[in-house]
Subunit: 199 residues, 2 copies
Amino acid sequence: MNRRYSSKVPTSDRGTLVSAPLPVTFAGGSEGEWRVESIAAVRGEALPDASHLAVVEGPDGIPATAAWVLRGVSSNERYVTRAEREQLVAKQSALGRAEATRAALIPITKSDVWWELSQDERREIFEERSRHIATGLEYLPAVARRLHHGRDLGEPFDFLTWFEYAPEDAAGFEELVGRLRETDEWRYVAREVDIRLAR
Amino acid sequence: MNRRYSSKVPTSDRGTLVSAPLPVTFAGGSEGEWRVESIAAVRGEALPDASHLAVVEGPDGIPATAAWVLRGVSSNERYVTRAEREQLVAKQSALGRAEATRAALIPITKSDVWWELSQDERREIFEERSRHIATGLEYLPAVARRLHHGRDLGEPFDFLTWFEYAPEDAAGFEELVGRLRETDEWRYVAREVDIRLAR
């Protein structure tokens, strides 16, 4: 993992918060450490086919040729409370575990209606009604994750959601994704692509 | 005002929410619609001198030469509740009033400690303790404002805060800024530059 943007702040195996936002580029094409197993349009337009995915942290090393390039930045928490963060940090795994040879990149864009809701309304939908955090906690530490934001960058997707897990935890991951897609929060998803990977 | 990024959504004189994030560039140099009256370092490093400021909405038309260029993007609300938004929208003015011939650009960066706080902790400091919104409401509609985010863009400032007012409301604006700088929230400000403008 390119530690250039995180080298100044210690990171534990638990994925302690790193101060500076981390720009990450996901490039689908003929090169990359991940093999693309499938690309499915869950809602809205799909992405072009690609055999491999390169995941590049920081500004350098982005493949010169790619079928598609998506950019996001890890950022500060938008909804999680202190109590919830403590639960998450106690259970979560960091990216890059040797056994985590399966991954999913799920780019998501939410509707204009979502973005025009006020902070308390979005939080209420996200957790009080949809239990996004509570549900996700059930699948830690098996599923490691990182969220990247793209809306403020003018990207086609608001969020680039990344997950890693061992092959034996794939069924659990499917269950998690299925449950989230049934929530009130997901009624505000305008576009979603589901990319599955292996290495 | 360049409406290119807001033309698809009606905007009222009250500054109704526009859906897409708006990228804005502030370029200090020898050209621009605003004359620079003063540049002061409130905390941390200042910015180089400039006689004029150009404010450019969208990606085109940024001056080729400038002493400094700061970029931000208007984005979704991070702390404001529905009830607070209703109060704000009922009182606030839009940018571009003919009488608003004075302005302030106040770039701000907050500390790593701030960004590592959870959402509920930041909200509690921002409003329950510091009454940022409640205080600001007292100065509407005299002071029009727009907030631009820069941290996720890798910019040197987390926020580019912009204010416009008539000359007779300048004293009120000073009072507002003075009150905010005394709050708990401002203990987390690591760098702040205060640029005053006229047209």
